[in-house]
């Protein structure tokens, strides 16, 4: 990019020595969706260097994990990425179940998939509304929250909570789903499909949106690989990497769905990946409801006091923002020796400094919004 190269030189376009100034975006700024600070060295409207400064909402979740039993740590997992709490709990209980060699009943796995995919849609809806808010469009947020409200009501009915569910338990689920949930979810799937069509004509095809996103903030495959970016970011760069397909877990191998990818790598590609993913999640939910097996939702003989055999165990899931992985190191005690939480937003944001160099400030905000950051997910 021409501007990018120009900004590296000492002399500006008019022949005068280059002068830069530093501004802070955040730690409280509407476009950062939380307490993220970006230290920006600017040359006029152009970014010379944008350095994210993290840690404003750091809670030391990993240390908390070393102070309590596995079951006691479970509520923490909903509070890392609070918009995608189901999948995060899944990653943690999955690691414990792998270490303890617990067999989760099929019905529980199916319900885990249904609730995770509902949670994915609700998370993408928040992103969609907030992203368009960043770009200056207020109305879509109201549509998004209208649909999300239906998901929250459904999940509240079975989990008792609207955001931090802690619904999965080590070995299964907190409780079974009822008819109200199944009927309500079917009704929601039927309602949501035409809504996605409407979003397309209302927003996606809008010429103003397209001009703000197409060819803005391109991220190459190679950059994704070097920074470990996952989720819609890497899929928007044309790599069909999705943990649900590459390292299948839970009941995902039993469903027919595709991984949407777009080759362009720009902000529009990441936008389209998420819009397409919502349609795929609806497909998964529908299939899981059709095939939902009967039976218990909790494994037999889950020990009241759980001691994992010494060693380390990993488990990865596809959260709404990408690959979430848990590593448990056990020394055969009730309390974990070490819990490492690998969160997708951290890796996805780490490429921002390189990707945003030379961009106009409003374009960089479009790029940042297209990364779908959740700051507590970075800071933990």
């Amino acid at each position: 990019m021409l501007v990018k190269e120009q900004l590296k030189t000492e002399i500006s376009a008019d022949g005068a020595p280059r002068e830069t100034f530093v501004i802070n975006l955040g730690p409280q700024h509407p476009a950062t969706h939380g307490v993220l600070r970006v230290k920006m060295t600017m040359d006029g409207e152009y970014i010379v260097r944008a350095e994210p400064v993290c840690g404003y909402i750091h809670r030391m979740q990993e240390k908390m994990g070393e102070n309590r039993t596995y079951a006691q740590f479970l509520p923490n997992t909903s509070r890392i990425d609070y918009l995608s709490a189901m999948t995060y709990t899944h990653g943690f209980v999955g690691a414990v179940e792998r270490a303890a060699k617990l067999q989760v009943p099929p019905r529980a796995e199916y319900i885990r998939v249904i609730t995770s995919e509902l949670n994915r849609i609700s998370s993408h809806l928040v992103w969609w509304g907030a992203f368009l808010l960043d770009l200056g469009g207020f109305t879509p947020l109201l549509y998004a929250f209208d649909d999300r409200e239906k998901i929250l009501d459904l999940l509240e009915g079975i989990t008792g909570s609207r955001l931090t569910y802690s619904y999965f338990r080590i070995g299964g689920l907190y409780n079974d789903v009822d008819d109200t949930f199944i009927k309500g979810t079917r009704a929601f799937v039927a309602q949501m499909r035409p809504r996605l069509k409407m979003y397309r004509s209302l927003v996606t095809d809008n010429i103003i949106l397209r001009k703000r996103l197409i060819e803005i903030g391109p991220i190459s495959k190679e950059m994704c690989r070097k920074y470990g970016a996952t989720g819609p970011v890497i899929r928007g760069s044309g790599v069909p990497y999705d943990v649900r397909k590459v390292e299948p877990y839970s009941a995902y191998p039993e469903f027919d769905f595709v991984i949407p990818t777009f080759e362009e790598g720009d902000s529009m590609a990441r936008y389209l990946v998420r819009m397409e993913e919502m349609a795929q999640s609806l497909r998964i939910i529908e299939q899981a409801l059709d095939k939902l097996p009967a039976g218990p939702v909790m494994a037999e003989k889950v020990p009241r006091v759980l001691k994992l055999p010494a060693g380390d165990y990993c488990y990865a899931v596809e959260a709404a923002r990408g690959r979430f992985a848990v590593r448990i190191v056990s020394d055969n005690k009730e309390i974990p020796y070490r819990i490492k939480l690998r969160t997708p937003s951290l890796s996805n944001l780490s490429l921002f400094e390189e990707a945003s160099a030379g961009m106009l400030l409003p374009d960089a905000l479009a790029l940042m919004g297209s990364l779908d950051l959740v700051i507590p997910d970075i800071d933990r």
Binding site: K63, Y227, G228, V329, K340
Partner: protein, 203 residues
């Protein structure tokens, strides 16, 4: 060649990479450079000493090792039990070489973290890698002395390591030599404590 495309397995056998002059392979590593499957110890590698204390290998099924052609002590792991496919315990001066090799294989950096083995006086540095096109998770481990935790940065190979190394420095006090900006990342900017060290008390 696009590094993200699946690697052709087998039809063009990759030569055993010669150790780069900047990252000399340790003799014990060169000894395993042959094509044979390394012996798998079913002992937990977490609990084992880094210098491969040659525990008597009990008969264990040989697990597939897609990285057997690399001149590093990779061995296959039971994915269903552990959650990763291949692991290797390497000497601390080998981590950059390992990163370069895995970079050539088209892997991506997942995360870097530490584990404090206080009783053994050691600090373990764990490098997680994943392949963006196929099911291949690789774990590289190195052990360094706990009272002087220093290891080379892999930031030049994987720029994404920058933040992970800063985080490991925050939590464990591991100094990544050659890191351009080893300042507090998640902790307050004046933090001098390392909360995940096992001897950490209230700050």
């Amino acid at each position: 060649m696009n590094p993200l495309s699946p690697q052709p397995q087998g039809n063009t056998p990759q030569p055993v990479p010669a150790p780069a002059p900047s990252a000399p392979a340790a003799p014990k590593v060169a000894a395993t450079a042959g094509q044979q499957e390394p012996v798998i110890s079913n002992q937990s590698s977490v609990a084992s000493k880094p210098a491969a204390a040659a525990a008597p290998p009990p008969p264990a099924p040989v697990l597939p090792n897609p990285l057997a052609h690399l001149s590093l002590p990779f061995h296959g792991v039971d994915y269903a039990a552990k959650g990763y496919h291949v692991e290797a315990a390497v000497a601390p001066d080998q981590v950059v070489f390992a990163a370069e090799q895995l970079d050539k294989e088209g892997l991506s950096l997942d995360t870097i973290t530490g584990v404090d083995w206080m009783a053994e006086g050691q600090m373990e540095v764990v490098y997680d890698y994943f392949h963006p096109a196929k099911a291949l998770r690789v774990v590289v481990r190195a052990r360094i002395p706990r009272d002087n935790p220093e290891i080379a940065t892999i930031q030049k190979v994987f720029p994404g390591a920058n933040w992970h190394e800063r985080e490991a420095h925050d939590f464990f006090g591991i100094r990544f030599l050659g890191h351009p900006n080893l300042t507090p990342f998640l902790l307050p900017e004046d933090a001098t404590y390392h909360p995940l060290r096992k001897d950490f008390t209230q700050c």
